[in-house]
């Protein structure tokens, strides 16, 4: 089986090199080359020589003498090194390596070439070329089975490639995985395979994904992790079948049949082989190697079943294939030998079987193929026993045991560490997942919490703001109401006080004065009597102005009319009026206010307006009364006067109007007069 995987590896590498080959395979015309060579021989300028070589090489035919091609490359490399053109030096090294690689005899040359290329790698200012140099160096080490150095070089290559070179990157990792596989680093190899697989998948390179899967499956079965290997192979086989790639499909199933054998599932193995045999045995497009090995395996199976007929039939089929197409195949030599031994064994030709078994062992040891070595010792032991060479049988058996145990131990350790890693990785991943979930939950909770807090804060702030605003508004309203109430109360108490004083003056002082006057009259003191009359008259005036007594008797309309008559009589102002009866519309206090408004308006007019005429209109409307007092005086600036604190008259007017729940309007024009309008709701 390992043989098969090695073979696959070779196939990959072949494809790989086609990707990288520069123009060495271009169709050349020897005439051009022949004309260039003399010019090259005589040219002394290094730069020109280099250009000429380049030209020659690009025109060389494929079947041109290989050694001459190599010489031209070497000359070119020398010039590149002398002119310190290390980028070209690197590129040429890569191209020459590809030529060396085709001949296994040039392995050492190839390695030293790439080592030289690596020594100048610091001067190559192109990270892709640098990466490819490392790749080739690694390949050179790889083919010399220097896996540790190969791995190192692949790692360097990996570091050089950027994301744009992901195909090279994947190759470097993929080959490193194979190198690690050979070194027996199960886990490192598996990791690299997975890494490479991801990159290939991203590149949509299905072929290479399959190669990697193949590698992984081989790795698994190598370490007896059969379940994983089987899982991958089933998928692979399906893919190959879909692609119509019967060759690789057959290889995959064959490999799987080997795994079944290892697991002692002889019938599963047989079923797989039978399936492959039925599909490809007569298909000449299929690699004869695989057709042969399937037949041999079937032959071996029937040998166990003691079905001599079938055993021989398949063996002969295999033999025919080898004879016709695979005479010199090293891959098929040992399996063929083994099957032949089994044939002789079944034919009871033990002498021949014994000889061949010994040869098989020797060849297997030469080939250093562990599976085959173990297999060979087992067969040799069995046949030796049958042949009667018990000593050799025992020795072979002992060796078989020894190899099996060591292989088992090695594999066991590897497998154990694989599963441990797997377990730890899973555990870590689970932990990580758990932690991530926890973190996500905490984050979600925190966000929720923050959101809640923010919402609540905003709500609280809004509520507080609203509350504050409402409170402010209420306070302002309350203050206004209180202010108005205060003004009203003040006005009322003022009126009450005036009324009281008026009454006191009238009833107290007035009556006293009367008594005095009566006495004086009796004493016939006329001059004192006159003085006293004046005093009484004055008292009357004060009393009346303090409280309009007539208001209570006449009602507001009559009182206003009376007031106007009085003003008309006592002043030079011509008063005209139209007074509607509004007595029943207002209570005593309101009537007093209305009366006072008229009275105070006239006070202002008499004091300031210098008016010669006043017109008073008191009009009753449906829901309100309109009182206008118009004079033809000098007019004034309302806002100026209103803000003047000395102008208490205007303020009081306003307050009284407000107390009545009415509105006051003042239209004043300088030198033209003033109109006071009061609109009072009934």
């Amino acid at each position: 089986m390992i043989t098969t995987s090695l073979k696959s590896n070779t196939i990959f590498t072949a494809i790989f090199c086609i990707k990288l080959l520069y123009s060495t395979l271009s169709i050349a015309q020897n005439q051009i080359v022949d004309s260039l060579i003399p010019a090259f021989e005589v040219e002394n300028n290094l730069q020109k020589r280099f250009e000429l070589i380049k030209n020659i090489l690009s025109n060389l035919d494929q079947d041109y003498d290989r050694s001459r091609v190599i010489e031209y490359y070497k000359a070119g490399l020398q010039i590149a090194e002398e002119t310190e053109n290390f980028l070209e030096f690197g590129k040429w090294s890569i191209e020459l390596y590809e030529i060396y690689r085709l001949d296994p005899n040039d392995e050492n040359e190839a390695l030293s070439l790439m080592k030289q290329a690596k020594s100048h790698i610091q001067e190559v200012h192109d990270n892709r070329v640098r990466g490819i140099i490392y790749l080739k160096l690694a390949a050179a080490h790889y083919s010399k089975t220097e896996f540790t150095k190969a791995i190192e070089a692949y790692t360097m290559a990996e570091l050089e490639f950027s994301e744009n070179d992901s195909i090279y990157l994947a190759d470097a990792i993929f080959f490193r995985a194979q190198a690690k596989d050979y070194k027996g680093e199960l886990i490192g190899s598996m990791n690299d395979y997975q890494k490479a697989k991801i990159i290939y998948e991203n590149l949509n390179d299905i072929d290479y994904v399959n190669y990697v899967n193949n590698g992984i499956a081989v790795l698994y079965s190598k370490y007896n992790i059969f379940q994983e290997a089987e899982k991958i192979r089933i998928g692979l086989a399906e893919n190959y079948l879909k692609q119509g790639n019967l060759n690789d499909w057959a290889i995959t199933l064959y490999n799987q049949s080997r795994d079944y054998v290892k697991q002692n599932k002889q019938e599963d193995s047989f079923a797989a082989l039978k399936k492959v045999h039925g599909k490809i045995n007569n298909d000449s497009t299929i690699d004869p190697d695989i057709r042969t090995i399937v037949n041999l395996s079937l032959s071996n199976y029937y040998s166990q079943k003691n079905d001599k007929e079938m055993q021989t039939k398949h063996f002969e089929e295999a033999q025919l294939l080898v004879k016709n197409q695979l005479e010199s195949s090293s891959f098929i030599r040992l399996p063929l030998l083994k099957s032949r031994i089994l044939i002789y064994e079944n034919q009871n030709n033990l002498n021949r079987a014994y000889e061949l078994a010994k040869e098989y062992t020797t060849q297997a040891v030469d080939a250093a193929n562990m599976d085959q070595i173990i297999d060979a010792y087992l067969i040799e032991s069995r046949i030796s026993e049958k042949h009667g060479d018990y000593k050799n049988a025992f020795e072979s058996l002992a060796k078989y045991q020894n190899f099996t145990d060591s292989l088992f131990q090695a594999n066991q350790a590897n497998t154990f560490s694989y599963f441990q890693t797997l377990y730890e990785t899973e555990k870590k991943e689970r932990d990580l997942l758990l932690k991530t979930q926890e973190l996500a939950e905490i984050k979600a909770k925190t966000i929720k919490k923050i959101r809640t807090i923010v919402i609540i804060s905003v709500l609280i702030l809004t509520v507080m703001l609203l509350w504050f605003l409402i409170k402010n508004l209420k306070a302002a309203k309350k203050a206004k109401i209180q202010q108005e109430k205060f003004s009203r109360d003040l006005l009322i108490s003022q009126e009450n006080e005036r009324k009281r004083i008026s009454k006191d003056l009238h009833d107290g002082l007035g009556q006293s004065l009367l008594l005095i006057k009566n006495k004086i009259i009796l004493n016939q003191d006329n001059s004192t009597s006159t003085l006293l009359d004046n005093a009484i008259e004055e008292l009357r005036g004060i009393s009346r102005s303090l409280h309009p007594f007539q208001l209570e008797e006449l009602g507001v309309s009559g009182a206003i009319q009376n007031l106007l008559n009085q003003i008309d009589e006592e002043t030079a102002i011509f008063v005209s009026s139209e007074i509607d009866n509004i007595d029943n519309l207002f209570d005593k206090d309101q009537q007093l206010h209305i009366y006072r408004i008229v009275q105070e308006s006239f006070n202002n007019i008499i004091k300031h307006a210098k008016a010669s005429a006043v017109r008073v209109m008191l009009t009753k409307k449906e829901k309100e009364i309109l009182l206008t007092i118009q004079d033809n005086g000098i007019g004034f600036d309302f806002s100026e006067k209103y803000n003047d604190f000395k102008s208490l008259g205007l303020k009081t007017l306003k307050e009284r109007t407000a107390t009545l729940g009415g509105s006051m309007k003042v239209d004043s024009e300088m030198q033209k007069g003033t109109i006071f309008s009061f609109l009072i709701t009934i």
């Binding site: 009238h506 009556q511 009367l514 009259i521 009357r540 007594f549 009376n562 005209s576």
Partner: protein, 208 residues
């Protein structure tokens, strides 16, 4: 038979003084009260010919008592005797059911005269109630010019036309013309167009 009276005043000294004065002059005081309500009760009870009431009293004012009497159809004549000097009472005496109006400070001089006049069915209003005459214009029919008429007269004297006067005084031109004709008839002037203007200018000093 002496005239029967009811008197009311909330001021006890004045009430006593009044009673003494009336009795000295042989009037028959049927009853006296010191508030309006009692006074009304006494009037209802005694139905005197005349009641002398103070204007301002507790419970009911003199005017309210008078109004009540009229509503209750009591024929008692009411004389207001008060310190208040309110022209409106005089102007509305009929509606208010007031037959006499005296100022207390001049009561002694006028009261007897007043009672006698009212007793024979006349009315009596104290001369002292009227403001002092400011002008001494001669008028016919004993009619004085009103303050408004005097103001218009002044404007006429200043040479303003009726229209100008109307605008100046915020009144209708018709109203001015009415005042004019009133003045002309009161002063017994010629009905010619310019006669009032000429008269006003000639007599300017008299009504200033």
């Amino acid at each position: 038979m002496s005239i029967e009276l009811i008197i009311a005043d909330d001021h006890p000294l004045l009430l006593k003084g009044l009673r003494d004065f009336l009795e000295e002059n042989n009037f028959n005081i049927l009853a006296q009260a010191n508030n309006g309500k009692d006074a009304l009760g006494l009037i209802e009870k005694h139905k005197p010919k005349i009641a002398i009431l103070d204007l301002e009293m507790p419970e009911m004012t003199g005017l309210e008592v008078a109004t009540a009497c009229r509503i209750k159809k009591i024929n008692t004549k009411i004389i207001l005797l008060t310190l208040h000097k309110e022209i409106f009472i005089l102007h509305q005496a009929k509606t208010l059911n007031i037959s006499g109006y005296l100022l207390k400070d001049f009561a002694i001089e006028e009261l007897i005269n007043c009672i006698q006049k009212i007793n024979v069915g006349e009315e009596y209003y104290s001369e002292k109630l009227f403001p002092e005459e400011k002008n001494n214009l001669n008028t016919v029919q004993n009619e004085k010019l009103t303050p408004s008429e005097i103001k218009i007269l002044k404007l006429i004297a200043d040479g303003l036309t009726s229209k100008e006067i109307a605008i100046k005084l915020f009144i209708a031109e018709r109203t001015v013309d009415k005042h004019r004709s009133n003045i002309i008839s009161k002063m017994n002037l010629d009905k010619k167009h310019n006669s009032l203007l000429i008269w006003a200018q000639n007599n300017k000093g008299k009504f200033f």
